[in-house]
Symmetry: C2
DNA sequence: CCCCCGGATTGGACGGTACCAATCTGGCAG
DNA sequence: CTGCCAGATTGGTACCGTCCAATCCGGGGG
């Protein structure tokens, strides 16, 4: 029995109600939703806050709350490769290239906030979408937080494994995106001609205490992949 | 006199207070901040909400609120080229390549949500950082919303011009990032060898009603530029 | 010495109310 | 018919209070 918050329940109800509505259709006023659903206006506003940040509605003071036009960018949220691919209607798969325990080294150590001579588990995988290569993934995790990881089944979602086996939850991540030229090895693995460009995403996954849990470098084929997200003005 | 909200004032005060603090230092409890600053706990929570989404603090139920470790990614927010460069400690500049009124065409029309034969203003600029080329920028705006734009001074911030001259405010934007191979013209303008890769960012700027205001395609030099941002898990 | 458990503490959720600021609308004046 | 202004409407800010759930800490038992 997953007892969930009222505003979360309300959020889903509102989302369902406006599923068929045309963009810019006004929602009921906050006071009306409040009365109709038998919750306080505070709770209504919490639900609407969530819908606003997810890009489902927009609000104009004095005017009302409206259904937002559909967006191209679905992946503003943190997703695993598997989730990401399924959202693009592709079937994810994985081929394990390496899984070993090594010294962190300067760069990885800095990204994970640990000592350079500390041990890390390195998992290298070629990830496939609909059977053909999509990206090269290189994950580093502090060894003391994931004992025995290298001997686990690494064919599926690593995030799921971290949660279920080790109780590690990644709540946010910092990403650095850059365009790079692929070298010979990379091109061969990804199945593209030498010299074409690739999209490199360096990510540091953080738990709810903003402590680094994993550092991942992913190299995407530029011809098959793009990154979509929404940005907002912070303070006007 | 810009009368600002209390929670906004409180946010800035808290940000200043914790400026020198080490990461993971606990802030006072919400009830304590409330009492000390003479505001309600609700208001405190609003201020902390803002600090949390900006990545300045993190909260753990039952434990407290803590100073978040510094992040690599500063540019989670929507910024103009000028702001972006200044944040990277570079001096922005601009060279106007073209400013004309043309038919939208299918692709631009779709991005702006207008008719394909509608008129748009196209502004093409080479943008410089510390005197050398950083990116090629190609902006399209619906002509009827920015009459006479082509004859304005386009050497500075376009966003500022849109706000001051036309009252258009871009509140959010959807971005699609992809790695591409530069062609000869592009390479020449950017001052890089032919065949190296570039980072292409396609952006649609939206006003507070989520209506498209501008569609921009920016081509960055891969060797000088990266994109940094933070993503969060939406619902656990 | 370590482990477990219960109470105190802290953030999270929810209720209610009041007033403000931006917007919209309808009616009146021109 | 057009333009403007006053009042109603709507979201935004702020206050109060109550209870819940996760965490932390210290004391007691092994």
């Amino acid at each position: 029995m997953a007892r969930q918050a009222k505003y979360e329940e309300l959020r889903q109800e509102l989302l369902a109600e406006m599923a068929g509505s045309a963009p810019h259709t006004p929602l009921p006023t906050e006071r009306e939703i409040s009365a109709r659903h038998g919750v306080s206006r505070n709770t209504v506003r919490q639900a609407l806050d969530a819908l606003e940040t997810s890009g489902s509605v927009y609000r104009v003071q004095g005017a009302g709350t409206f259904v937002a036009p559909p967006v191209v960018s679905k992946s503003l949220a943190l997703t695993s490769f598997s989730e990401d691919m399924r959202e693009r209607d592709l079937v994810p798969a994985s081929r394990l290239l390496a899984a070993e325990t090594v010294r962190a080294g300067r760069q990885i150590a800095e990204r994970l906030g640990i000592a350079p001579d500390a041990e890390v588990v390195r998992v290298s995988r070629l990830r496939l979408a609909d059977g053909s290569p999509m990206c090269l993934e290189n994950v580093h995790l502090p060894a003391d937080r994931v004992p025995g990881l290298a001997r686990e089944d690494l064919s599926g979602s690593l995030y799921a494994l971290l949660t279920e086996r080790y109780g590690l939850q990644i709540r946010s991540a910092e990403q650095v995106v850059r365009a790079v030229d692929l070298d010979e090895t990379e091109s061969a693995l990804l199945g593209v001609p030498v010299g074409v460009s690739g999209l490199r995403v360096q990510r540091v996954g953080l738990d709810r205490r903003d402590t680094p849990v994993e550092a991942t470098t992913t190299l995407y084929r530029a011809d098959r992949y793009d990154i979509r997200f929404t940005v907002r003005r912070s303070r006007p």
